[in-house]
């Protein structure tokens, strides 16, 4: 019976890179979609606003696991066979993070004081200018801390991509465990890798929050 060795550690370390890669895909994809949804959520067009509300409610009200299963089987229905696991996992995590990022960013955009919106209008800025020159730069400052905090959630949730056969940290742990059956050691090592990725992000998010609150203390 083989025991846990450097080879296994190397396999896990390699899988950690995939976890980071998948997180990056989810963050970039989710960021783009989520930003669009956040803008739709505060739009003046009622239909657009309601569509965004429904989208956010549905994404936040169903487990990511179910979302991933739906995409995995849905892709086959639309007619693609043999879609690489990274695409299915990437789409699922993109949808998931867009639903949460949209709501976080909406809050940040709306927390820019109303007088700023009015002042921009008085200066005859177009809605586009108002958004890009006045509102977003201020919202961005408020948004960094919660966004980095959500990044931790994304990294942790990539562990669910294992259900569609994507080999990231958690799946690598499962595979190794199947061959040597030392679950405690294997999953402790896997957990340590996740911690090593997430803890710096959490700490960073907290320090950003503190810096932002300096003026208010």
């Amino acid at each position: 019976m083989p025991t846990f060795s450097a080879v296994h550690l190397e396999f896990i370390a390699f899988a950690a890179l995939w976890t980071i890669g998948l997180s990056a895909i989810a963050f970039v994809g989710g960021g783009i979609v989520g930003f669009a949804v956040a803008l739709a959520r505060i739009s003046h067009i009622r239909a657009l606003r309601y569509a965004a509300i429904v989208y956010i409610q549905v994404v936040q009200g169903t487990p990511l696991l179910i979302l991933l299963f739906l995409i995995y089987f849905g892709i086959a229905i639309v007619g693609f066979n043999e879609v690489p696991a990274i695409i299915a996992a990437g789409i699922g995590l993109t949808i998931y993070s867009s639903g949460f990022l949209a709501e976080i960013w909406r809050g940040c955009i709306e927390s820019v004081p109303k007088t700023q919106w009015e002042a921009a209008e008085c200066l005859a800025l177009t809605p586009w200018q108002r958004m890009t020159r006045v509102i977003l730069p201020q919202a961005l400052r408020i948004a960094t801390a919660p966004t980095v905090g959500f990044l931790v959630q994304i990294v942790k949730n990539t562990s669910l991509a294992s259900v569609v056969g994507f080999v990231e940290l958690a799946q690598a742990g499962k595979l190794i465990n199947n061959s040597i059956f030392e679950p405690f050691t294997v999953f402790m090592v896997v957990a340590a890798f996740y911690f090593a990725i997430c803890f710096p992000l959490s700490t960073w998010s907290r320090s950003l929050e503190r810096k932002l609150n300096v003026g208010r203390r």
Binding site: T62, P63, I66, F69, P183, F184, F195
Partner: protein, 227 residues
């Protein structure tokens, strides 16, 4: 796209869906109650405990919040087994969920405890309240009342996250779905149905916790305002 949707194939299984949904609710309810108790105790320990308790709680919270629930579930399920105790999948699921949500609850309640103003404590002291009375009436209850909305969203997330325990075959809704889809080969339909059930459950949990808040926090109901 020539796929024929066939939800009728799932009709004979309605009873199992219901059973799974009830088990999910049950699992989340137990985890919520125990996790709330654990989290509140940890928050108190971190705010007012001796140094080693504070350190212990801080470590617990950071470790849990920075690792995925899936890995925690595996560690509990397989880890306890290697230690020589036999626990069923449902039991392991409950333990993992309680440990997980306890850490999040602790952070939320701690924020509430920190928001209690010092002058409130001094006022209570002047009124001659005992230490326990002060802690219960002036610190803990208002603190929890203030962070109750945040706790509510956390427990809705917990209910959704309980789907992860299907990975160790705890018999909740997602595990039921996995079984039904392999029986019927109607995977897409099954997961749509289950997705809708989860959506309904999250509304139910949200409304349930809101009503519970109305009953428990009398002051908010009577004055119509938050603290």
């Amino acid at each position: 796209m020539t796929y024929q949707f066939d939800f009728a194939a799932l009709l004979p299984y309605w009873h199992e869906f219901l059973q799974g949904a009830l088990l999910t609710l049950q699992l989340s309810a137990i985890a919520t109650v125990l996790g709330f108790i654990l989290g509140t105790l940890c928050a108190i320990g971190r705010a007012d405990g001796p140094r080693w308790v504070r350190f212990l709680v801080a470590t617990y919270v950071e470790v849990i919040r920075n690792t995925p629930l899936l890995v925690q579930v595996f560690i509990v399920y397989f880890g306890i087994a290697t230690l020589g105790f036999h626990v069923g999948a449902d039991m392991a699921a409950v333990i993992a969920l309680v440990v997980n949500v306890g850490a999040y609850t602790s952070e939320i309640v701690r924020a509430g405890l920190e928001s209690v103003h010092k002058s409130q404590l001094e006022a209570a002291d002047c009124l001659g309240l005992s230490r326990t009375q002060i802690y219960w009436h002036v610190v803990l209850r208002p603190a929890i009342e203030r962070v109750y909305p945040a706790l509510t969203s956390q427990y809705v997330l917990l209910m959704l996250a309980s789907s992860i325990t299907s990975q160790i075959s705890a018999e909740e809704l997602t595990a039921v779905a996995n079984r039904i889809q392999s029986d019927t080969f109607r995977s897409f339909e099954t997961y749509i149905v289950v997705g809708v059930i989860y959506l309904a459950l999250s509304f139910i949990v949200r409304i349930g916790l809101w009503l519970f808040g109305l009953v428990v926090f009398v002051r908010r109901r009577k004055l119509g305002t938050a603290l």
